[in-house]
């Protein structure tokens, strides 16, 4: 088998490869194949050459190539190669699945930055689609930081949310109510005109929170209120009745 392949290497590569860049890949594969041919753990040994080859050609091309080799060479172990091929594909698939899970975890971490925008003011810009998992982790994170920073205002900006349906609305309402239970006020900003209309039609009501047109007015409002409070505190202090606050 080994000699058969090596002796016809150039001819086989010529037929298998589509384009020059595939030639080297097929040649390497055939040499590796000839090397491991006839070994006991032949199938296992083949996995590495197959996955190398798959980096250069598509599965369909490989499958066709195996068919071609089977036709050209007597006793070509096509079944074993297919077995190894399927196992390699399975491994690639598992790897991809793992990568997707990893990326999802990474996204969940990136998804909701909580920014301290001013003294006593937190900003939560929500971007993208909210699913139940993300909404849950976001709410937990926000409540924790609200409690930890003792923020008086939490600005939630939904400019980056493409659609607010009743479920997303429900998530937000839940989160707002929880933040209010911590003694902080919520300011909601960034609702687009078309979403406003849709929300009204849906009957989703955000009347438990303060709504501002954009981040700028929300910040102005929050800062002016805290400044007012601080000012009053100072005044009271001068009068000697600071305990009232």
């Amino acid at each position: 088998m080994k000699d058969k392949i090596i002796s016809r290497l150039d001819e086989l590569v010529e037929e298998l490869a589509k384009g020059d860049e595939q030639k080297k890949a097929w040649e390497d594969f055939l040499v590796d194949f000839a090397e491991v041919c006839g070994k006991a753990d032949f199938k296992e040994e083949l996995k590495a050459p197959i996955s190398n080859l798959l980096q250069y050609i598509s599965e369909k091309e490989l499958s066709e190539g195996i068919g071609l080799l089977y036709a050209k060479i007597d006793n070509f172990p096509a079944v074993d190669i297919y077995k190894a091929f399927i196992e390699v594909l399975g491994e690639i698939n598992r790897e991809n699945q793992m990568r997707i899970t990893e990326l999802r975890d990474i996204l969940a971490e990136l998804a909701t930055p909580i920014i301290r925008l001013w003294q006593d003011v937190l900003l939560v810009p929500i971007i993208g689609t909210l699913d139940s998992q993300r909404a849950q982790s976001m709410a937990e994170k926000l409540l924790e930081s609200t409690a930890a920073t003792r923020a008086k205002f939490v600005i939630v900006d939904v400019t980056g949310v493409p659609v607010i349906d009743t479920i997303v609305g429900g998530f937000l309402i839940e989160m707002f109510s929880a933040v209010k239970l911590l003694g902080s006020d919520v300011i909601l900003t960034g609702i687009k005109p078309e979403i406003a209309h849709t929300l009204v039609k849906l009957g989703v009501d955000f009347n438990m929170v303060i709504i501002k047109r954009d981040l700028e007015s929300a910040l102005t409002y929050a800062v002016s209120i805290s400044a007012e409070n601080t000012g009053r505190k100072l005044l009271n202090h001068e009068r000697g009745n600071a305990d009232e606050d």
């Binding site: 349906d165 009743t166 039609k201 009957g203 989703v204």
Partner: protein, 144 residues
């Protein structure tokens, strides 16, 4: 519940897990945009599909959403028709479910179906306990 021929429709979406909700929303959004619906109507249609997909995912676990463009009448008025079908548990009291503020699960506002009815131009629902639910809605394209 009813027989649907998928070939009559422009888009057929299978809803099976939570990611399918976002995917179906995106597909229908670009479909409505392609047919020159106004931004407000595109949002309404997108939201409706999102609600329907969520209902399927949440209650029936699995189902299909069919979408097509329709031209009716002599003036060929364009509209988008959306059909959501499942073989889930069905709705016990359809009238109550459509009124709004009614829900059978926690963490839900119970506004989905009533909201869809207000968002769209026509709304039909058929449901049988143990057999499934079909919701058919339509949105007409308004002239500018």
């Amino acid at each position: 519940m009813i027989d649907v021929n998928p070939q009559d429709y422009d888009i057929v979406l299978k809803i099976k897990d939570e990611n399918d909700i976002a995917v179906s929303r995106q597909m229908v959004k670009s479909f409505a945009q392609k047919h020159n619906f106004s931004l407000a109507d595109v949002t309404k249609i997108t939201t409706t599909v999102s609600e329907l997909a969520r209902n399927i995912y949440r209650y029936a676990k699995e189902g299909y959403i069919y979408v097509r463009k329709k031209e009716t009448g002599a003036d060929k008025a364009v509209s988008i028709e959306i059909l959501a079908c499942d073989r889930g548990p069905g709705i016990e009291n359809v009238e109550l479910a459509v009124v709004g503020g009614y829900t059978t699960v926690e963490r839900s506002l119970g506004l989905g179906l009533s909201g869809i009815r207000r968002l769209m131009d026509s709304f039909n629902i058929k449901s049988e306990v143990g057999k499934g639910t079909v919701v058919a809605v339509e949105k007409r394209r308004r002239g500018f």
